[in-house]
Amino acid sequence: MANYKTIEADVAVLGGGIAGCLAAIKAREQVNEVVLVDKGKVGRSGCSPFAAGIFLVRLPEDDFDVWMEELVKTGDFLSDQRWVKTYLEDIYPLAETIDGWARQQKSYIFERDEAGQFIRRRSRGHRNTAHCVINSLPMMDTLRRKAVRSGVKIIDRVAVTDILVKDGQAVGALGFNYRKSEIIFIKARALVNAGGGCAYGSVFMGIKNLTGDLQAAAYRAGAVLQNMEFGNSNTTARDYDIHGLNLIVSAGGRFLNNRDEEFMWEYHPELGSRAPQAYLTAAFCREVAEGRGPVMLDLSAAKPDERELLRRILPETFKIFDRAGIDIFSQRLPWIPAFQGTIAVGGGLAINSGGETNLPGLYAAGDATPLPVNGAPNVGGLCLSVAALTGYRAGESAAASAAKLKPPSGRDMDREVAAAITELMTPLGRIEGLSADEVVWAVQDAIIPMERNYIKSKERLEEALAQIETIKAELPKLMAKDLHELVNVVGAKSMVTLAELFLNASIFREESRGLHFREDFPKTNNRDWLKWVKIQKQDGGAKLWAEDIPTPYVRPSEEFSLPPGVKRV
């Protein structure tokens, strides 16, 4: 008798942030049985609830070509331009659709002016583009309610650990409900991986339940990952996990070094402290490495109406300021790069324009992918809106393929499921050994230091890789004393898998671009490296290769150029 429960579905969506909710809602329009499962509670899990008020929308009156060029250039030519085109065409109707659901529910998501037009701002990276302002928690409440009312079956508090494959096709996901003490096998005709990325337990608001479990599971199942050399980085307070940086710089926030200089003008003469993320984090590191640290955030220039907006849109961050006794509008705070791993524009599952991965039956959306529109850290508000669009698209594609296939039959996966359960439970059978926290710290220590992350070299990346190998050898000692700890153990193991891929891909890309800066290859090399690095599991390790990036609309004008983090003036 199997000791797990089987749930059968046409489409199973793994992960309930904005991408997963929209995938499930869209899939339910075409098929009957849609299951949406999340490690936390759908609507309060992942980083969507902390989306910090920004959502990029090209309105019908905005010039298509100008937006196309700005997004592709800001993305350092790493974007999938076919996706950029789709995005520019489809995001406005999708934003109106979501806001319409909110109005039906007597809620609201998008901030609008008295004439009912979207309020827009220019924050990080925006020259000609501009983002809308949203309320994240009402947005997620809207999506959860819409999913429930559409007939999506939501299962909260299930940590998904494995994606199972039969005859080369993804056929189901295995997980456990850590509150109900129950193992669940979700068997589906199509799966959407919307489980987000891996933030490695690093600093920043609201990202610590993102441990990359579903990226690691997909990799083990044979899915191809892309852009793994690009670890995402935002910025935050040195001592507190603050979010909302786009709105903060659009309200006049600026970064100062220990000489009171707004140094960002030297690294990005056009935008200064409003430069895209990669420019900020690289410049912070340069300033500190050259003795001009610490970097401080100064928000004293914010006008009264901007202060009110920040408080309203960023309630979590202002709770922290208030509780810590900080008046952010009069007091400067030490500010640092916040490594975020594979969330946002960090690497993830390679997808085509329909959201399909290379594994038949497996689709992906949101931060589980490298965000195909964005490329390098792009203009503010793009991550969330691309998560929304890829979710919608993946849900549509998954449902279309599910509708064509026969339902999965019987208990034919019993043996594979039993093996996965045995592996999963092993840490529960020990009373001493290694804790998840010890592994997480060791991984952070290997990959987060500036000289391995923001200013890389082959030699130092290889040192980091050796450190990861040591941790890997210790993993059989991992222990968990209950199911809560088992969730943390699964996360720690996923981090080790993904950290190794981050380092291998970082060694592979011999140039500097976006968030990837190689001291030994300090130029952006469009002649040889206008390519995506892809990784797939094979016997004995990872296979890496480079694939040309199609550039049908916008091409770089220079063969070699200066990457972020180099002074321009």
């Binding site: 509670k41 850590y178 610590k208 996990d241 500190v288 509780r323």
Partner: protein, 70 residues
Amino acid sequence: MGILSIDYDKCNDCSVCYDICPMDVFRKLGRKVFISYAKDCMTCYLCELECDPDAIYVSPERTKKIRLPY
């Protein structure tokens, strides 16, 4: 530091904190929520923000030592 206390004189047993916590910090005994995994609190303040009777106190300091870039 993270979550420090639940004031049971104020708590109305609504369980919203238990229901939404992304880090699974809370557990329940009967209808009463208690703090079970304080070290996993990520100071996101969702519980405090949604606690109508204002019974929860979260300190803004991080609960764990985290590797910083420098």
